[in-house]
């Protein structure tokens, strides 16, 4: 009696296990596909809208794709906007990478008296986001004559606590032998940095570039205050102008403009997401 019931339970477990193994992945694929669809649908709808000239709001793609995109391009002066924003995003991303590698290199490979204090000073930037110092920073920019210049849009962003920490942490994991060997070979600090340390830091450089490029491409408040002319205007403010040009929003053109502006950071994300993932996981290792 008990033997029979035991074996039935066993069969049930085996049966259930097989059922699980076969259907569980299928069900989970269904769940995840639904999630992806829900997260992505707003963008798909925007994409569809950007092709419609008439019959706005249906789910069927329209035929006005060329008109919408070229109207958005011309009206927002997209070539200028993209050029201006590329200058700012690239300058800040590269500036931060260079400065934070320099700083982290100094802290890890040299004896720096008061190094912890200097690190703490740079870390303070985390507690002082732009809004808590925005009025005096703008005044400072006025005094420097940097309002409406690329200097004003980039240099205040150059210091990077994120980058300094990222590289400092990574340099600690680089084997000491590497530097010792370099020294024995007669390589000075500069050659060691350029020919050994920077090449092994590729992943982290990629990760920081991705973070900072997207961060700068999407800046809104600072460019709104500081970049007033077409000469320096940034993409996000250009989109605001597409919204504000008329009393009635021209959705076809506005969505075409929005899609255009999304493309560059999306490309950067796609190309560098592997670097970012491994950079983040590696720096998360020691806790």
């Amino acid at each position: 009696m008990s033997a029979i019931s035991a074996s039935t339970t066993e069969t049930a477990i085996i049966y259930e296990g097989r059922w699980r193994r076969r259907f569980y992945p299928i069900i989970m694929h269904g769940v995840m596909l639904t999630a992806v669809f829900l997260v992505t649908f707003p963008l798909i709808y925007t994409l569809i809208l950007s092709t419609q000239g008439t019959a706005l709001g249906s789910l069927r793609p329209g035929t006005a794709i060329v008109e919408n995109y070229s109207d958005a391009w011309n009206r927002a002066q997209m070539d200028m906007l993209i050029r201006n924003t590329l200058i700012v995003a690239l300058a800040v991303a590269l500036g931060k990478i260079v400065l934070s590698i320099m700083g982290a290199y100094a802290l890890i490979y040299f004896r720096v008296r008061g190094g912890m204090i200097l690190l703490a000073v740079v870390m303070l930037t985390h507690l002082l986001p732009l809004p808590v110092r925005i009025v005096p920073t703008y005044d400072l920019l006025t005094d420097l004559g940097w309002v409406d210049t690329f200097k004003g849009l980039t240099i205040p962003f150059f210091a990077s606590a994120t980058g300094l920490l990222l590289f400092q942490q990574f340099f600690r994991t680089v084997p000491t032998d590497l530097a010792d060997a370099a020294r024995v070979d007669g390589a000075g600090p500069f050659r060691f940095l350029v020919s050994i340390l920077i090449p092994v830091s590729r992943t982290n450089i990629g990760a920081l570039f991705l973070i900072e490029f997207i961060y700068m491409w999407n800046q809104y408040l600072w460019p709104l205050i500081v970049a007033n002319s077409a000469r320096t205007r940034q993409v996000q403010i250009g989109i605001k102008q597409l919204v504000a040009t008329d009393a009635v929003i021209e959705w076809g053109i506005l969505t075409a403009g929005a899609i255009t502006v999304i493309i560059p950071p999306l490309i950067v994300l796609l190309v560098l997401q592997r670097s970012l993932m491994s950079g983040l996981s590696a720096s998360g290792e020691d806790f």
Partner: protein, 293 residues
């Protein structure tokens, strides 16, 4: 510590640019904020009267500022809770050791590339009274949603757009955190039927604590500051003052009026105090150090 190079001056030269930039563009303006908050000042600076703490008194006796504080608190809590819950669920799902799941990791993080302003445009489209699919969907279940007229709808609208935009970022960091958790722990948590929930709370979540703390802080900062573009491109604080978050109020006093520079600086300091306090509390609660970003 692997100190190898003997140079004495070089390291200071390498650190100098970073330190100088921080002093000039962070510390000095922050100190100026403190000073300005004690004055009644206008934009051209021909009036500058020392008023002590009057600006702070005015702030906390002003209905509109109290309103901004309340709205900001509601907004921030809603965004942080919604974003962290949804993104954690999606990241755990995408991390399951099932064949073909790698693709979801890419398909779920892309909102990271969007700006809050663009998210605003997209959600304004979805909820447009004439052509928004979401408007139609809500109408079908009997809900009349219009954020241009209803104060409640306006706040809900901002919460939805802001949450959606930050999902990619949060999922990205949760995925990175989950990558460090052994596969069998995740698999057990996922497969073990009724026990999976308890296992998740007991085994997965504690391992994710550093990531959770980091995201809690970053999402709070995001909701408080980075959403400026979203507000400016959609509700602009309205209808009435229903979505006039602290950051938007600060912008209006600091840059849209000519005589409230002192008041705006006082608001900056209140923001600093709030952010510092929240960060401190979050650290104490989840403790341990978190190092990235």
């Amino acid at each position: 510590m692997n100190t190898v190079f003997p140079n004495r001056i070089l390291p200071y030269l390498l650190l100098a640019p970073s330190v100088i930039l921080v002093l000039v563009f962070f510390i000095y303006p922050a100190a100026q904020s403190v000073e300005l908050s004690l004055y009644r000042v206008n934009r051209v600076r021909d009036v500058q009267v020392y008023v002590g703490l009057e600006n702070f008194e005015r702030l906390f006796h002003s209905d509109s500022y109290i309103n901004s504080l309340t709205v900001s608190a509601k907004f921030t809590v809603a965004v942080v809770v919604a974003a962290l819950t949804i993104s954690l669920a999606l990241a755990v799902g995408a991390s399951l050791p099932i064949r073909g799941f790698g693709v979801y990791r890419t398909l779920l993080i892309w909102t990271y590339a969007l700006s809050p302003a663009i998210a605003g445009v997209i959600w304004a489209l979805l909820t447009d009274p004439a052509i928004g699919v979401l408007t139609d969907l809500l109408k079908a279940i009997g809900v009349n949603f219009n954020w241009r007229q209803s104060p409640d709808d306006a706040l809900i609208f901002l919460v939805m757009a802001a949450t959606w935009k930050i999902l990619g970022y949060d999922i990205l960091f949760f995925l990175a955190g989950l990558k460090n958790i052994p596969h069998d722990v995740l698999e057990a948590a996922a497969l073990d039927g009724a026990n999976s929930w308890t296992r998740f709370w007991r085994m997965v979540l504690p391992l994710l604590r550093p990531t959770l703390l980091f995201l809690l802080i970053m999402n709070t900062l995001y909701a408080s500051f980075e959403t400026f573009g979203l507000i400016d491109i959609t509700t602009q604080g309205g209808p009435g003052r229903a979505t006039n978050l602290l950051i938007y109020e600060l912008y209006q006093d600091g840059f849209k009026s000519s005589s409230r520079i002192g008041l705006a600086s006082a608001q900056s300091l209140v923001l600093l105090a709030i952010v510092a306090t929240l960060t401190f509390i979050q650290y104490r609660f989840i403790s341990r150090r978190t190092f990235y970003q």
